[in-house]
Symmetry: C2
Subunit: 231 residues, 2 copies
């Protein structure tokens, strides 16, 4: 990820209505960074000096164990925030962050934010809401993971991305690029994911054809997910 002075932050500030958190005078202090698919954006242990707002693209936050296992904590799209908790708690980066697509971030230094926080209440309110929401969804996901088997979590995931009613099909549209990633997201092994998918096919809940997955029976899927929805 690197600073990109050619890009003007203003369009993003308007698009995401950031004037509410960054007053006019603050905007010159905002830096624009661009990143490329696959970039490692942050690594655990790293010390952060800026907070970032994701305004374009998609990134994933994940945990790597010493043993090499990997677990996706969450995906972020605009307007995701990175470094908020580090800013508040003053600790170093906890998880790995990687770019899933090309994208753009706006950055503001902790130092500047400290001043902003003092003079501009809406900013801290924004932070508070951001963190509260992160806590809320983390907490939901955590319970879901602890209490239900992969099949249920997977059903829940499918529901969460099939927007609303129709037996939506998500082809390349699936939010995870491939099955390996999906496995890391649901928190299981590729092998097991495959097993569960197979079962869902034989239960006539989904259909699979060359890599694409289609929901066949939304009702059954709902039953299975049992009211649990990611996010």
């Amino acid at each position: 990820m690197k600073e990109n002075k050619k890009i003007n932050p203003h369009p993003y500030i308007e698009r995401y209505d950031l004037e509410r958190i960054f007053p006019e005078e603050f905007i010159p202090k905002v830096t624009v960074y661009t990143f490329t698919k696959g970039d490692v954006l942050f690594a655990p242990g790293e010390t952060l000096n800026d907070m970032y707002l994701l305004v374009e693209g998609k990134i994933k936050i994940f945990t790597l164990t010493p043993e090499g296992k990997s677990l996706i904590n969450r995906f972020k799209r605009p307007l995701g925030v990175v470094g908020d908790v580090e800013y508040v708690k003053g600790n170093s980066v906890i998880n790995s962050v990687e770019a899933v697509s090309d994208g753009v971030m706006l950055a503001a230094s902790f130092e500047d934010l400290k001043v902003l926080e003092r003079n501009h209440p809406p900013f801290i309110r924004f932070l508070l809401e951001t963190v509260a929401h992160k806590f809320y969804s983390e907490s939901q996901a955590s319970s879901l993971h602890m209490l239900y088997p992969v099949e249920v979590r997977l059903a829940s995931y499918f529901l969460s991305i099939s927007s609303d009613g129709e037996g939506t099909l998500f082809h390349q549209e699936m939010r995870t690029a491939n099955l390996t990633e999906l496995a890391e997201w649901v928190g299981t092994s590729y092998r097991h994911l495959n097993r569960v998918l197979k079962k869902m096919v034989s239960d006539e809940i989904i259909e699979r054809a060359n890599g694409s997955i289609k929901i066949k029976d939304l009702e059954k899927l709902r039953d299975l997910a049992n009211g649990n929805i990611y996010e």
Copy 2:
């Protein structure tokens, strides 16, 4: 839980240095509640009108599934906060909350807090730090749960409560009252917990004598926990 007008909130406010978040004028708006061991303090779905500060006693936050399984999300001791996320996000109570011992809470209405928030920045800073910390530890615990087997989580738990160095013994001192509760805390069944405990005994990591558990080999425990510590 019920209001208790006989109790003066001031000693608590001093003990926990709450003047920093509640200015003098606000204190008359604080209500004192007392509760008794076993009380159900809050139930999921309930609408909250107040935020609570736990100033005495111990409570547990847990999730109950429709199937009747139960999972302890966390314990709280003073100065724990309940209802902060609900205040910020405006949603209803997410988890069940139950008193583990007798105790006391200070309450302030959301309505009053809204005013306070506007006039007294330290309060919102306090909230932000509280929520950030909750998120941080929830996130750690969640990864730990997803990535490691019960044995590791248990080792981690033992470490977290054995304060520091010495092969501390925790008898009735164990933060969970009994093995059933410990199982819910580690997120497993009683049966399996027992199995793992037995293994730890035969590995000479701990010793068991009539309900008490003693750490025998702190080094092995550390190896096992593998750098993971709750909280």
